[in-house]
Structure formats: structure tokens, C-alpha cells
């Protein structure tokens, strides 16, 4: 009994110890406070950002890039993954193309994003969706390809003979768990891309961090780092909740 309580408290104890150590390092003079802000500096910095309205604008901008990039990348990834998953011809045609394009990280597209879209929201959305696209594409392709042939035969036996009917009645529902695994990975990947995409100047969390760091306002940088962690945690929790509803047919 006592043991379980202690075990439950361990994460909290760890967090408090971490904060104490962090607080102590600048205070003991082991690091300059301008380079490493203490946790106790943060609430005031957060309130300043909040009351000036900058925090809300930055978060709003970033969430917009994030959502749109995710939507475009995941939409295209699921769409193309279904096509190559269902058609050997499409799979063959794209086999080498995808092998060439896939290893390029989203960030490698920054120069083109700037050339094609300028320093604009469209550029940020483009970079985010490139990263998302490949993750979701390969997850969807694999999930569609591994749908149980026996279930497809059930659809045929009951008269669903066209590719569209097979897709809607069997392939898509059967592939949903696999597609969702890819989407969840993409959820995290897209968040990283948001920062990267905004670091080169598109307004949002990333650009606000760059601004603050150039003014040595490191407490503000940390505020936005924590903001991102919180937003990501929130989104992942929301995703897991929706996934639980969507896959409630599975034994838990």
C-alpha cells in the first residue's frame, strides 16, 4: 500500500528535483542567468506575453500552420497510399520515385519553400505537409496492403464487386488502425516542422522564439518551448481519445 503511493509520487518527486536543480544552477552562479533563466522567472514572463496578446497570436498562427499542414499532408498521404495499396501498377510506378524522395527531410525543402512561396504561411504549410505526407503515405500503403484477403472475399461474396465498394466496405475500415498509427507519428513530426518552418520568419511560435533569443530574452524562449510541449501533449491526448472512439470495436 505504502509502496504504491510512493511509486505514484515518484514522477512528481523527479520533476520537483529537476526544477530545484535547474533553479539552483544559475542562482549558485554556475551559469549566467541571461543564458539560463530560472523556473521562477517563467510565470512572470508568461504573464507578460499573455497580457500583451503576443502569446495568443503566436499560438493561433502556429496552430493554423500545424492544422493546415497536417490536413494537406495526411490527406494526400492517405489518398496516394490507398491508390498504391490497391493497384500494383501505381505501386510499381511510384516504387523508385518514393525511394528517391522519401529520405529527404522536410527541412531540406526550406530553400524551395522560400523560392516558391516566399516567407509566407503557404511556405510553412508546405514544409509541414512534406514531412507528414511520407509518414502517412507509407502507413496507409502498408495498412491497405495487409488487409485480410478473406475479408475482401466476404465483400465480393455479398455483391460488393467494384474497387470503390471494396474500399469503403472493407479495406478502409480494416486499414484504419494502421493508418492511425501513422497519423499519430505524423502529429509529433508536424509539430517539429512547425518550429522549423517558422524559424525562418513566418509568424508563429518559432519566429517569436527567434526574436526573443536575439534579444537574450531567454525566459520567453523557455515559455514558448513549454507552450509547445503543452500543446503537443494536449493534441496527443485528444488524438488518443478520438482513436479510442474510432477503434472501440477492438478488444482493449
Amino acid at each position: 500500500m505504502k509502496n504504491t503511493i510512493v511509486r505514484r509520487l515518484l514522477p512528481l518527486i523527479g520533476l520537483l528535483a529537476f526544477l530545484a536543480l535547474w533553479e539552483a544552477v544559475p542562482r549558485l552562479g554556475l551559469a549566467q542567468r541571461a543564458l539560463l533563466p530560472t523556473p521562477s522567472d517563467l510565470p512572470a514572463a508568461f504573464l507578460r506575453e499573455l497580457s500583451s496578446g503576443i502569446w495568443l497570436t503566436a499560438v493561433g498562427n502556429s496552430l493554423f500552420h500545424y492544422a493546415l499542414g497536417l490536413l494537406v499532408g495526411a490527406g494526400l498521404g492517405i489518398g496516394l497510399g490507398i491508390v498504391t495499396g490497391m493497384s500494383r501498377v501505381a505501386e510499381g510506378l511510384l516504387a523508385w520515385v518514393s525511394r528517391v524522395l522519401r529520405p529527404m527531410p522536410g527541412l531540406a525543402w526550406v530553400p524551395f519553400a522560400i523560392l516558391w512561396f516566399g516567407v509566407s504561411e503557404a511556405g510553412a504549410v508546405f514544409i509541414i505537409s512534406v514531412g507528414v505526407f511520407w509518414i502517412v503515405y507509407f502507413a496507409t500503403f502498408g495498412a491497405i496492403r495487409s488487409v485480410d484477403r478473406d475479408l475482401i472475399e466476404v465483400a465480393q461474396a455479398f455483391g460488393f464487386s467494384s474497387a470503390g465498394e471494396r474500399l469503403i466496405k472493407v479495406m478502409l475500415p480494416a486499414a484504419t488502425p494502421g493508418i492511425l498509427v501513422g497519423l499519430r507519428t505524423a502529429l509529433g513530426q508536424a509539430w517539429m516542422s512547425v518550429v522549423a518552418a517558422e524559424l525562418f520568419g513566418v509568424p508563429g511560435l518559432g519566429s517569436r522564439m527567434m526574436q526573443a533569443s536575439s534579444l537574450l530574452a531567454t525566459d520567453i524562449v523557455v515559455v514558448y518551448m513549454l507552450t509547445m510541449a503543452a500543446l503537443y501533449g494536449l493534441m496527443d491526448a485528444f488524438f488518443m481519445f478520438s482513436q479510442g472512439r474510432l477503434l472501440r470495436w477492438r478488444p482493449s
Partner: protein, 264 residues
């Protein structure tokens, strides 16, 4: 007079069916010179060892596999909504659908409304005695229950012919015998034709009006025997056991092995 009736009421008429698959440039014959005519309302069992092409024959009838030669004619009762429905060996319920939604699956091809489909599915579930489990997920069911749902899914589309592909072979003995009796009950309530594939000779002679023995490679019809035993039948009765021995002999050309509950 009965001849006239038989001729006009053949729901399935297979003549000279040959079937072969080509794989990696090699041709494999699966079925050879198969003739089979099934009357309306008849319960026919097809027995044979695994790999003899029994299941493939059902898929030819469903139109899922094309014959290499010969003719396959299906003349379903015009009052039936669908010519055929298939019950698979391993239930094959769609795991993401509830029980009732699985039963309604085949109806989504029709023009019925959602409410009508649900009602029809509920009816079919009642026939197989599972109305209480309508809202369960497939994984929450036992093997026997899953197979009942699979049967209900096929019954729901009101087929003229019910094709069954070793539907009870994966179940334990008591569940299997229960489902066999239930199938007979359901069959006698309607005027459906049943084509039942099994490797269990005792099951075949217990259930069917007529037993078709397939044998050899490629598979061909070795013999057909009528089961002239009144229903309800007695499992393990002398009449059925004798017939089972004869069917065994048909399949293996007189080299029947002995043994009580003998399965190929």
C-alpha cells in the same frame, strides 16, 4: 410425373465443369468433368478430402472463380431476393461492425433503408437465436455464436440457395451438433436449397438428402447417394453408419478403413 418436376426445378445445373489454375507457368487441374444437378429445396452435401476442390466449387457457383470449361447454370426461385449466399468456414465477421451490423452487411447492396435493414437483420438474428447479442462486437462472441451470426448474415439476404463451406468444422462436438440440428430446423421452415461442403462424412449423411462424394486429384464426382432416412434422424443409427461406410468406399474406391467417428 416426378421427372417433369425435377427437370423444371433444377436450381443448379453443372455440366462438364473443368477448372484449372495457372501458376508460374504450370497448370494445376482442380476439378474435372464435374456434373451436378440440384433440385429446388434439396439439401445436398459434398464430401471429400481437403484439397479436392470442394470449396473451389462453391466459389465457381458464386462467380468468384471462372470455370475453365463446362457450363454452370443457376436458376434461382424468382421470389428469392438473391440467388445465393455463402457461409464461410471461419465465420469471417467484420471485426469493426457490431453483430447486427454484420448481419445487415449484405443488405447494403439492396435499396432498403437503414431501418428496413436493421429490422431484417434483427429477424435473421432471431432465427439463429442471437437477438440478445445484437449490439456485441464479434470478439465478444464464442466460436459457435460467431458461426451463427455468419449464418444469419447469409439468411438475411434471403437467398434461394445457401452455400456452406465447412461451416461447423472448427467447432467443438456439442456446439457442432447443436448447430447442425438448428440448420435442419431453419431449412425445413423455408424452401431454401442448401449446398453443404464438408470433409466429415458422418455430418454429411446426418444432414443431407443426397451426398456427393468427390475424390481424386483433380477432383471428380465418385458417387452420389440419396439418404433415404426419415427426419428427425438418429445420430450414429445403423442406417446412417452403413451409408457413411458406403460413401467412404466411394471416395477411396473400396479401400475403406475402419473406425467409428471417421473423418477424412
Amino acid at each position: 410425373m416426378s421427372d417433369v418436376k425435377t427437370a423444371s426445378a433444377a436450381v443448379i445445373d453443372i455440366r462438364g465443369l473443368n477448372l484449372s489454375f495457372e501458376q508460374d507457368g504450370r497448370k494445376t487441374d482442380v476439378l474435372r468433368r464435374l456434373d451436378l444437378s440440384i433440385r429446388h429445396g434439396e439439401f445436398v452435401a459434398i464430401v471429400g478430402a481437403s484439397g479436392v476442390g470442394k470449396s473451389t466449387l462453391l466459389r465457381v457457383l458464386m462467380g468468384l472463380v471462372s470455370p475453365s470449361a463446362g457450363s454452370v447454370k443457376v436458376n434461382p426461385d424468382p421470389s428469392a431476393e438473391r440467388p445465393m449466399a455463402l457461409v464461410f468456414q471461419d465465420s469471417r465477421l467484420l471485426p469493426w461492425r457490431s453483430v447486427i451490423s454484420n448481419v445487415a452487411f449484405g443488405l447494403e447492396k439492396s435499396s432498403m433503408t437503414r431501418m428496413q435493414r436493421r429490422e431484417r437483420a434483427k429477424e435473421a438474428l432471431t432465427v439463429v437465436g442471437l437477438a440478445d447479442l445484437a449490439n456485441r462486437w464479434p470478439w465478444q462472441l464464442s466460436g459457435g455464436q460467431r458461426q451463427r451470426v455468419s449464418l444469419a448474415r447469409a439468411l438475411a439476404v434471403r437467398p434461394a440457395i445457401l452455400l456452406m463451406d465447412e461451416p461447423f468444422s472448427a467447432l467443438d462436438v456439442s456446439t457442432r451438433e447443436g448447430l447442425q440440428d438448428e440448420l435442419i430446423r431453419i431449412w425445413r421452415q423455408t424452401d431454401r436449397t442448401i449446398l453443404f461442403v464438408t470433409h466429415d462424412i458422418d455430418e454429411a449423411v446426418y444432414l443431407a438428402d443426397r451426398v456427393v462424394a468427390l475424390g481424386g486429384k483433380p477432383g471428380e464426382v465418385r458417387a452420389m447417394r440419396s439418404v433415404d432416412v426419415e427426419r428427425p434422424r438418429q445420430r450414429g443409427s445403423a442406417a446412417l453408419d452403413d451409408l457413411a461406410e458406403e460413401v467412404k468406399a466411394d471416395i477411396f474406391g473400396g479401400q475403406a478403413r475402419s473406425g467409428d467417428n471417421w473423418v477424412i
